[in-house]
């Protein structure tokens, strides 16, 4: 455990100074500030931020994460040459990547809101948005860590990273729409719910839109979602689905890492 924290500490110290990560924080800072300036309404700015967060956060987490870990290859070898157990190292590498990514995102997005002063309502929505972004970061950096351990070849790894993002952002939704149109004669609310649960970006999207009262735009399905997500059962299922999305890649990657040849 202490080994994990030490690895985490030094890796995070390096990652946090990465120019790409600083650019990432600045990106959210500029976008958020711009939206607040032009809309003049924190609630509307947040609604616009939802789509940006859902699109950008997974992409940056998975691509930056993969590239960063490939570049850290020699550093990992240096750590492995020390009297440390591999078991305790993987968690440190994963968290040392995830922590700075979450921090950059949170600082970039929250600062413009906090500088302007904020009421309780806006604060609640802001926290929801930050939470969703943080969870997506955890999931996609877990996928990035898995890819970097699994693929020896950088180019294939980067390809897989972008592929994973495309799959969950674009292709999966296309598939869902296809299913919905083919079976449009049937009542599909529950099936749709199941399909959404299988994709972390969709979970985040639905949860955020419901929070921002977008349910009204989604008709009957929206009503079913609202009932589901506001109930205790819905909360448990959502939490379980998101936890699985973090735990499965982390555990797979950790197992591969134990036996990997460097």
């Amino acid at each position: 455990m202490t080994t994990m924290l030490k690895v985490l500490k030094y890796q995070a110290r390096d990652a946090i100074r990465s120019r790409w990560l600083i650019a990432y924080a600045l990106f959210f800072l500029v976008v958020t500030d711009g939206l607040l300036r032009f809309s003049g309404d924190p609630a509307r700015a947040q609604l616009s931020l939802v789509s940006i967060v859902l699109f950008v956060v997974p992409l940056v987490a998975v691509v930056f994460g993969t590239v960063y870990l490939y570049n850290a290859r020699e550093f990992i070898e240096l750590l492995l040459a020390q009297p440390l157990a591999r078991r305790s190292m993987y968690g440190g590498l994963y968290l040392g990547l995830t922590g700075p990514l979450v921090l950059a995102f949170v600082v970039g997005l929250a600062t413009p809101f906090l500088l302007r002063g904020i009421d309780t309502d806006t604060l609640g929505s802001l926290l929801t948005l930050l939470g969703a972004g943080a969870v997506l970061t955890c999931i996609f950096s877990a996928i990035a860590t898995l890819i970097a351990v699994r693929c020896e070849d950088r180019l294939r790894g980067l390809g897989s990273a972008i592929g994973a993002w495309l799959l969950l952002t674009v292709i999966y939704d296309g598939f869902v729409l296809f299913v919905l149109s083919v079976f449009s004669d049937y009542a599909l609310e529950r099936a749709t719910l199941g399909l959404m649960m299988a994709n972390p970006i969709d979970i985040a999207r639905v949860a955020l839109l419901l929070h921002f009262d977008g349910a009204a735009m989604m008709g009957y399905t929206g009503a079913v979602f609202l009932t589901f997500f506001s109930g205790a059962q819905g909360a448990v299922v959502t939490l379980a689905a998101l936890t699985l999305w973090v735990a499965v890649p982390v555990m797979l990657g950790s197992r591969l890492f134990q036996h990997k040849d460097f």
Binding site: K6, R13, E77, L78, A81, Q82, P83, H259, D261
Partner: protein
């Protein structure tokens, strides 16, 4: 052909610091699999410098990484100071490793990197910072590694290998990228460490450099140990006057069957 094996050398010497017994390693999947190491037996003797020599792709780096546990051999066992170490971690506290490529987290400084190692290993009983002074690294250690030249990073790499006064030093192409002065300093350091009883494993493409350093030579060819013994013995067996010539003669010779 008579080769000096480890058995003849062991007679009046203490048990070797490291023994590799039947180490095998295969990379790749079925059809494209390559046997990088094939049943390698090798003893590394205490207080001596062992040069691992062989053509590119002979398995030198894989052998080193197997000793460190970076690569997991498919077969065989590694005994460090009398204890089998496969799958264990603690023995690495007694090893200092200088990898071939000195690429570290580019946003950290050398000082932070050294502090990290001390943090991870626990404070060194005697931290050996001699090379920091000899290489005059004082200022460079305070700069992020990304702004340092390859040679300077290689010097920091060397500092980290010697830092914990390890019983075993593993140096993979240690002088690559170093200027003649720095490379002389490093070689003096290696010989001084051997003088105080430490064991060294070194690889290099520069045979004259190994000739200065090595007591023993292990010649790898296609994943097998084609020769293991003292440097003088290698020269005698091949009838050559220098390590470079002797190594060339070994490579021209029909490798495996004859040497076994």
């Amino acid at each position: 052909m008579i080769l000096l094996t480890k058995d003849t050398m062991d007679m009046d010497a203490p048990a070797p610091l490291i023994e590799l017994r039947g180490i095998g390693k295969r990379f790749g999947k079925r059809s494209a699999a390559v046997d990088v190491l094939r049943a390698v037996d090798l003893a590394v003797h205490r207080g001596r410098v062992l040069a691992i020599v062989g053509p590119n792709g002979a398995g030198k780096t894989t052998l080193i990484k197997s000793v460190l546990g970076l690569t997991r051999p498919d077969a065989g066992e590694i005994v460090f100071d009398g204890t089998p170490v496969t799958g264990s971690d603690a023995y690495r506290a007694r090893i200092g490793y200088m990898p071939q490529i000195a690429r570290f987290p580019e946003n950290l400084t050398g000082a932070e990197l050294i502090a990290m190692l001390e943090d991870l290993r626990g404070p060194a009983a005697r931290a050996d910072r001699e090379l920091v002074d000899r290489f005059a690294l004082g200022d460079a250690l305070r700069k992020p590694l990304r702004v340092l030249s390859g040679g300077t990073r290689q010097k920091i790499n060397a500092v980290m290998a010697f830092l914990f006064v390890p019983d075993l030093l593993i140096l993979d192409e240690p002088t690559a990228g170093l200027d003649p002065l720095s490379s002389s300093i490093l070689k003096d350091k290696v010989l001084a460490e051997r003088g105080s009883g430490r064991t060294v494993i070194v690889t290099s493409h520069i045979m004259s450099e190994l000739e200065e350093l090595a007591d023993d030579v292990a010649f790898l060819l296609e994943g097998r140990v084609a020769f293991a013994g003292s440097l003088d013995e290698l020269k005698r067996v091949t009838g050559q006057g220098t390590l470079e010539r002797a190594a060339a003669a070994m490579m021209l010779r029909d490798p495996v069957g004859e040497a076994a």
